[in-house]
């Protein structure tokens, strides 16, 4: 066999266009005759719209369309991946700062912008809720019209859903030591460097939509159903997103732009500003109460978790993040009794949606912080406490779900070894360690087509979005190995629903596993045809022919697939076509609708320096180790892990959205919403991975793009505690917050002790 490509780190497929500026992101696509759109919104969180006068805006030279809810079909169409609750444009009432209630389309951006200032809106600001306490207040205004949830007993509250999971009897469990605390996770935003962009163009009998979307096929369904078109008449182009991180999974303003394009009879494009992007997507904030019971030897006997997530004004996929993040919130541990209650709570804020980690980082922040507190309370080393309670490979740690699918202890031990856990940290520094577990996809469907052309070159059709994770490269590597083609003879076609077969979605670190397997199957399909071809050419019985990883073997003789192909296709040439399908069906009885396809597992260990006078936390060393099953492309694995780690440092140390009393985002934009720069890196970053080929993906791979973000915050907070003795249960660990905690601790030495340690 030729040198394998899988497991190596060839240059990124599509990399060249990324370094030459040729990569066309959605905002780079120019259509003739296009109109430029701008959104109109109000400078408050919630308002009753009394009148909208568009006449002055329409009078601006170059303005072709001023769209309001009145111009849409009535009642205003709504959409959403979980609940059909989001209107195409706000009708009657706006529900969050930045929600559009009108949109302009004009010949130039300038004209559109000018017109936005001339839409006259008469409105009445209404009381609104922006915090968990505020939203749960019995007197709180309702975010969602109860009519949207007929028959739902929660419809008259701001609780969208309440989830209950668990096993065993927590109340009957008897523990020697109980440790409890409440841990808060702030609102943070994805901040992909590419702001969201959308284009829609009517064609003779349908519509084409361009979007930097992670799930083109899902978007196709949404548009088709809103416009009452057959799927085949809705063509979605999904140019590679310039970063997605979950924020680009589901439809946002594509439906609006589609309605505008149809009304104008011309293409319409809307590229959001970064500020508008902040107002469009974020992660759910949370307050999570954890109570853990231990035997005095450190064995976990129960866990009791109550989680409140503050989601936004529309559900988007937020409730699913709450469900999925909470379902595994006990973590990778063996615990006989677990009770989990989790609520998604609506508020008059930006709709929260998927964001790398999908509801888990909030839970892991709480539970792993609680584990660290427990270790101190029990007088057991935090590493030893983890190792003692970690589920063994094959252990059913969540009854009824996929058993532990990795040797997680190895990952933890590797991280401990890299940071030098046993040895004391440098003077003045503190160490902390945490683990993170996340359930992979619970259902899935990825179709693919692979064509082996007459000269042995290959075209792969895959509906995955390559938003930086490098899916295109992985797919090309798989096809190259299986069909014996050099990597640069493989083309991967993505991002066009008229050409590429169905893929459910690009999320949950699924693509290497789901689409990867699908492509592997498509290649196997071709290999079967090659086998028949070789048997015919030889001639021998098919049973005597083995086709594997690019080669055809008959007896002791090895021939490249290409040679058989060329001879077999003969004068007419042509090609061989392989079809792949990877599916994981829903399991209606399962609390999440399906078991985990795999688990992502990571251990992060850090060493920090804390400036006690200023509160500055510097991560001196950051070790991140993920269980990846098989690193199909080690450089890309490293890129994903380190990238996720740094993103985790963002919400750990500096990121949070701040609202004013009226529910407006105060730090709207890049000046005051801080994310890590090259000067904010750990002084030393070490990433490593464990490969046991025990995943369900090609060659034993598992999904891996979120793991290294999951437990950064609890690891850093544990290290801050180790360095200073101060326990902080709110993020981010900004200099001011750390300073305040140190300050309070100096004044009252009990501050920072667990809310309750109940030793019986």
């Amino acid at each position: 066999m030729t040198d394998p490509c899988v497991g190596m780190s060839p240059r990124r497929v599509g990399g060249r266009d990324r370094v030459t500026g040729r990569q066309a992101y959605v905002a780079d696509i120019h259509l003739d005759d296009v109109l430029h759109a701008k959104l109109v919104s109000l400078d408050c969180a919630r308002a009753r719209i009394i009148t909208v006068d568009t006449s002055a805006a329409l009078a601006v030279p170059g303005v072709r369309l001023v769209m309001t809810a009145a111009d849409l079909p009535q009642p205003v169409p709504r959409f959403g991946p979980q609940f059909q609750d989001r209107p195409v444009l706000a009708a009657g009432e706006t529900h969050y700062h930045g929600e559009p209630l009108a949109a302009i389309a004009a010949e130039t951006k300038d004209a559109a912008e000018e017109a936005t200032r001339l839409v006259r809106i008469e409105y009445e600001e209404l009381p609104a809720v922006f915090t968990i306490a505020g939203a749960l207040d019995p007197m709180a205004p309702l975010v969602q019209d109860p009519a949207l949830r007929p028959g739902d007993r929660l419809a008259r509250s701001n609780v969208l859903r309440e989830h209950h999971y668990g096993w065993g009897d927590v109340d009957a469990a008897s523990a020697d030591v109980v440790v409890e605390g409440t841990y808060a996770f702030p609102m943070v935003t994805q901040f992909a460097i590419e702001p969201h962009g959308f284009i829609a163009a009517p064609d003779s009998d349908g519509i084409a939509v361009w979007s930097s979307i992670q799930h083109p096929n899902w978007l196709q369904r949404v548009i088709a159903s809103l416009l009452h078109l057959p799927l085949a008449k809705v063509r979605i182009f999904a140019p590679d997103p310039g970063g997605g991180f979950g924020g680009k999974q589901h439809a946002k303003y594509e439906p609006l732009v589609a309605f505008m394009a149809l009304r104008a009879g011309r293409p319409v494009r809307l590229v959001l500003t970064l500020e508008e992007t902040f107002q469009a997507v974020r992660r759910g904030a949370s307050e999570i109460h954890v109570r853990s019971g231990f035997r005095s030897d450190g064995g976990l006997v129960f866990r009791d978790i109550e989680a409140n997530y503050l989601i936004g004004a529309y559900a988007d996929i937020a409730d699913r993040t709450v469900a999925k993040g909470s379902y595994t919130s006990n973590g990778p541990y063996r615990v006989p009794a677990v009770r989990i209650v989790a609520r998604s709570i609506l508020s008059h804020t930006t709709p929260s949606t998927a964001f790398r980690g999908f509801g888990n980082p909030q839970q892991i922040w709480a539970v792993e912080s609680n584990m660290d507190e427990a270790a101190r309370a029990l007088g057991i080393d935090p590493l030893a406490l983890r190792l003692q309670n970690l589920a063994h490979p094959g252990e059913a740690f969540i009854p009824g779900d996929t058993p532990a699918d990795g040797d997680w202890a190895r990952t933890v031990e590797r991280a401990a070894e890299l940071i030098g856990w046993g040895s004391p940290p440098a003077p003045g520094r503190g160490r902390g360690l945490a683990v993170g577990l996340k359930s992979g996809p619970t259902t899935g469907l990825s179709n693919s087509i692979v064509r082996l052309l007459a000269d042995g070159s290959v075209i792969v059709y895959a509906g995955t979005s390559d938003m930086g994770q490098g899916a295109r490269t992985i797919f090309a590597q798989i096809a190259a190995d299986e069909l014996g083609a050099p990597l640069d003879w493989v083309t991967v076609v993505m991002g066009d629903t008229a050409v590429v077969p169905y893929d459910q979605q690009t999320s949950a670190s699924r693509s290497s596993v789901f689409m990867g397997n699908s492509i592997l199957l498509a290649c196997r399909d071709i290999q079967a045809k090659i086998r028949a071809m070789a048997a015919r050419l030889e001639p021998v019985d098919e049973a005597a022919v083995v086709v594997e990883r690019g080669e055809v073997r008959i007896g002791g003789r090895v021939t490249p697939i290409r040679d058989v192909l060329v001879r077999g296709l003969g004068r007419l040439g042509g090609e061989l076509i392989g079809i792949g399908e990877m599916r994981k069906e829903a399991e209606p009885e399962h609390p999440l609708g399906g078991t985990a396809a795999f688990f992502e597992f990571n251990c992060t260990a850090v060493e920090v320096e804390v400036d006690r006078e200023t509160g500055d936390v510097v991560v001196a060393r950051h070790v991140t180790v993920s269980d990846v099953g098989k690193a199909m492309n080690p450089i890309q694995v490293r890129g994903q892990d380190e990238g996720a780690a740094i993103m985790g440092l963002g919400h750990t140390l500096m990121e949070h959205i701040i609202h004013d009393e009226a529910g407006r985002i105060r730090n709207l934009g890049a000046i005051d919403y801080r994310i890590p720069t090259s000067l904010d890196l750990p002084l030393r970053m070490e990433s490593d991975f464990v490969e046991n080929a025990d995943g369900p993906g090609p060659y034993g791979a598992k999904g891996m793009s979120e793991g290294a973000l999951l437990c950064v915050a609890p690891a850093v907070a544990a290290a801050v505690h180790d360095a200073t003795g101060v326990r902080i249960r709110d993020l981010p660990l900004s200099p001011e917050r750390v300073w305040r905690a140190l300050h309070d601790a100096a004044e009252s030495p009990d501050a920072g002790a667990p809310e309750a340690i109940d030793a019986r």
């Binding site: 030459t20 500026g21 901040f191 310039g242 970064l274 090259s678 000067l679």
Partner: protein, 160 residues
Amino acid sequence: MTMRQRIELTVNGRIRSVEVAPHHTLLDVLRDDLGLTGTKECCLVGECGACTVLVDDLAVDSCLMLGVEADGASVTTVEGLATGDKLHPLQEAFLETGAAQCGFCIPGQLLAAAALLANDPHPTRAAVEEGLAGNLCRCAGYEQIIEAVVVAARAGASES
């Protein structure tokens, strides 16, 4: 609407004469008037560096400069880094170390790095961190980006 003004500037070695609106930034002019979409738009407040170009060999955020200010200037964008089919050593190094993930920040990173190496052909890691601090990468390939700059410096990127 105010009068457009004619400006003449050199873009990637070619003299271009364009009529621009005074309130349009150099970024607008490059992307909309000259069709050079390699330069990216993100924050528009000088924080992210996605719009970085070289103006008379200095790295600047093109979102914070008016197009009219570039009259008479020489501008280098990412499209001007390679020589024909031959990539600039920085571009090679970015590919080699896997520095480009989604790629959206990369044009800006490359130009900031080019400016850095022109001033400091063999920068320390600290100098690279400082030189690229105005270029956000949310894929956070910072480690690989820094590595790429160091690799390119070794390959003599500043001489090309």
